[in-house]
Symmetry: C2
Subunit: 220 residues, 2 copies
């Protein structure tokens, strides 16, 4: 990683967290080494792809041996930026925002993400505490972001408010948006957006269900 990681394809980046998850599971089973071949069988990808992917970032393996699980786990964590402090805020303290604040899969020390505040306009929500995290008035957001040097914001607010608020957040220093609003955000190039478009993912599911049904009908 560091300053020379150029032109890594998005396809590779998207696979890294999955490698990280499998390596974490191997580690938990006290498995200390693994070859690309064995990992490929567990993950149902080609060994070639694993080696190609990893070699974008460095030679983590050893000929005749394979990869050291613990080492590779740590290295991929570093590549993903999980060794850095990743404090985040959640903008929109409705059901989804609150669910994310409670979500244990990432909101724990082991992978370094920490939700430190929720924000909302609704006076009924302001002041309540969700999983030990307070809901603040959205008007206090600028000061909070600047004081705490927050770089990551989850957007769990209505579609019509998201673009305007995202623009403000970017101007206050937010560098990465985890966007749950069903809208495409247009922001400066220095800012990253990761979309989680739930309705859209559900639609691809129904497509697949129905197209499979049709294929079965025709005996394919």
């Amino acid at each position: 990683m560091s300053s020379m990681d150029k032109n890594i394809s998005p396809a590779v980046i998207k696979r890294l967290p999955r490698y990280y998850r499998y390596l974490g599971a191997l580690k938990a089973k006290n498995i200390t080494r693994i070859s690309s071949k064995e990992l490929s069988e567990r993950m149902k990808v080609t060994a070639s792809q694993i080696r190609q992917d990893l070699n974008n970032f460095g030679g983590f393996g050893q000929q005749g041996y394979g990869y050291n699980v613990e080492n590779l786990y740590v290295e991929i964590g570093k590549i993903l930026g999980l060794d850095k402090s990743n404090q985040m805020i959640i903008v929109g303290a409705g059901n989804l925002g609150q669910a994310l604040a409670n979500y244990q899969d990432f909101n724990n020390n082991s992978i370094g993400f920490q939700v430190i505040a929720l924000f909302d306009v609704n006076p009924k929500l302001i002041g309540i505490t969700v999983h030990g995290v307070e809901v603040h008035d959205i008007d206090d957001m600028e000061e909070f972001i600047k004081n705490h040097e927050i770089k990551i914001a989850a957007l769990t607010l209505p579609q019509d408010q998201a673009p305007k608020i995202a623009k403000e957040l970017a101007s206050w220093g937010i560098k990465g948006f985890w966007n749950f609003a069903p809208v495409d955000l247009t922001l400066p190039d220095s800012v990253t957006v990761e979309n989680v478009h739930l309705a859209e993912s559900l639609m691809t599911l129904t497509y697949n269900i129905h197209s499979r049904e049709d294929n079965e009908d025709t005996g394919e």
Copy 2:
């Protein structure tokens, strides 16, 4: 749609819901026709890609005119299976499951998805109502699925329980899983899984944030 849609690439399928969203927005603005060129500018993709994608499913356009917005919206809806009844259950009535039950983006009549039951093992949750939907005992799930002919299940339960329960659900007739558990499900080919791996999507976000920082440091 229909039985002859063969070998459509997943890349194309993933783009369909986004077309659908843009067409819905155009419709709401009372725009009745659009060319692939104009749509491409709005969506920031190439016009060529739009035409290629749509022509996998049929010639919806007209030379010299473009596409009729309303018609194309309806057709893509059909392709995605949104014209069919899409009743679903949510397995796991924790924070995330409850948030999904409340989620208005898809859980409304306009796109045909309907959450009709939540299930959980926790006696404290069983019997409560979330957004008008009751939390049932997970032991009643088999009967419920069979009686209501449910085809879609959202899995919002702990990682260690997901694979076993998914297998049971598949044996009871579930054809599509919307999987929020951070684990890969191994299921028969007749079953579709759409993964929403939140922790993993957050990791790709941090990768992008940090790699962009690095590039700025070196003035690239």
